[in-house]
Point group: C2
């Protein structure tokens, strides 16, 4: 009976998210009881939503992670021991396995993943990011060929898929990013029509240049100054999908939103959504997404950190914008 | 061939809306040509939306009123001369007749109104206010029995009907008003469950007291500080219907809206709407509204100004909140 490593959350963040909030512990590897199985994780996913799970705020849509417990995360791995009728040793499985090398589970929320799908693709496209992009774009954004879509966090795991799906649907797609490298990637590799670098561009002028006919769909992943600039350019009957507000996850003083007059004048729809409400249709969303992937219309890049302990510093990359592609940890 | 009086818009407002923006003119009464008829107006409706029609802003959902032309308004009156096959002398008709004693029309947008319906009721309930309330509440607000609804401008022409319809549907209804007199009216006469006087109450504390389980539907007629207080109390899957922003119609520096984080956390829907998009289903909306009126569930009060010239100072009552009930001018 061996041991494995896990990382507990031990402190709430107060503005900075780094290793000081966590503690590495060593645990004894358990034996699965009846109806349980043991997963050896291969990759853990790091997602912006995790920062929300760590806060003291209890007024959220998903329970916070309690101090002294394993940090919550999704991941992919292999079943290495099983007393569960539906999961066999050798199965590739995805689930909320947390920041640990081994996870014991009764199968709740665990899905098998075809072993032909590489784990990096599974986490980048068919897990939370791809499901979020698909649900948000098609469930709330009502994209129509010929319209203009702006997506913030456009080089991120959700935004990059939103933009590619919208391109495939015939929309003009503008991405908001935080570096010229990311701007180049979404234009040259992903086929976006244009990019705004919010750190250096004059936001309004650049949007006027790239979206001269205004904006029909805004997919909001970040909040911050770009929000006002896009909002002011929304067309009549425009739709805004509010998916993430990364600029405010760690802010003590969230900045105000735009005045609502334009909501009336342009009869805008603004819809907030989070994936936990829609996880029951994960299979349906994966089926919707698969043909785009098969046609080569959805590319991804994985930003892979090495080793369990790298997770502790990894989340801060979302705040600095230094992640390049879907962030994950290889164990 | 006699003459009649009309009021032209001659100046754009810069913060204040009063008689200085208008000019009374005398016109020769025309004879209706083929396909036309002449209406002698009995009452003109004054509505908050008219302030939007007067601004220099051309980026609106309805064309602005050009300087030197008759101020736009809806009204009710009697056909006094007709060369139109569908309208006969003596018919009671409602339409966009403008600020004038007589109106020549080809019938576009003009509806006949059963002469059993008093003109004050027609303008208060079956015209713009009632249609707006019905479309906004049922088309965007998705009210469900047992839920809590907050409506701002609750003693106004739209808000008072929204609240009464919601009460009839079994919701808990809280109205936001600007005087104790209005608070008493909506509670004692209209049957609201509670009232917030935004001019004197501690908005947050009062809302916590009146809506202890939070707010499911917010019907926004005013903007201003109440917006943030209600927004912060919206429940999961709450709906916000943005119908009016009277606090900002004449403001040079509209105040910002709330930060959007709550839109995600509570998966809120925010829908802007204006009646011109829905006027094609006016008949359907009137039919939806009629049974509530017949059952005595929709009461109204008319605030009647006397004489054409009183319109020029009348709109400012919306800004001071001194109107009591549906504002209209008797000619």
């Amino acid at each position: 009976m061996g041991t494995y490593k896990a990382i507990n959350l031990v402190k709430r963040n107060e503005g900075h998210i780094g290793p000081e909030l966590f503690e590495m512990v060593e645990k004894t590897t358990p034996q699965p009881a009846d109806g349980e199985f043991l997963v050896k994780q291969a990759y853990m996913s790091l997602d912006p939503a995790m920062m929300g799970w760590m806060t003291a705020d209890t007024d959220s849509y998903i329970p916070r992670v309690e101090l002294g417990t394993v940090m919550r995360s999704s991941g992919i791995g292999e079943v290495v021991a099983s007393n569960h009728a539906d999961f066999a040793v050798g199965d590739q499985v995805m689930g909320m396995f947390g920041w640990q090398e081994m996870a014991l589970t009764d199968g709740t929320g665990v899905n098998k993943v075809d072993k032909k799908i590489p784990p990096e693709m599974a986490l980048s496209v068919f897990a939370l990011p791809g499901l979020t992009a698909t649900q948000g774009l098609f469930g709330c954004g009502d994209p129509k060929a010929g319209e203009t879509l702006v997506v913030s966090g456009a080089a991120g795991s959700v935004g990059s898929i939103v933009g590619q799906l919208a391109k495939a649907e015939g929309l003009r797609v503008i991405g908001v990013v935080g570096s010229d490298e990311k701007a180049g990637w979404i234009i040259n590799e992903l086929g976006f029509d244009g990019a705004v670098n919010y750190k250096i561009d004059d936001l309004g002028a650049k949007l006027d240049e790239l979206a001269p006919d205004g904006v029909d769909v805004y997919f909001e992943n970040t909040g911050g100054p770009i929000q006002n600039a896009v909002f002011e350019r929304m067309n009549a009957h425009g739709r805004i999908v509010v998916c993430g507000m990364i600029a405010d996850y760690t802010s003590a003083h969230p900045s105000p939103g735009p005045n609502w007059m334009r909501i009336i004048k342009k009869r805008l729809s603004i819809q907030g959504f989070t994936m936990p409400d829609h996880m029951h249709k994960a299979g349906e969303l994966q089926a919707k997404l698969a043909p785009y992937v098969q046609r080569g219309e959805v590319k991804y890049r994985a930003h892979v950190l090495e080793g369990l302990e790298s997770a502790m510093g990894g989340l801060s990359l979302f705040l600095t914008g230094d992640n390049k592609g879907k962030l994950m940890v290889r164990l």
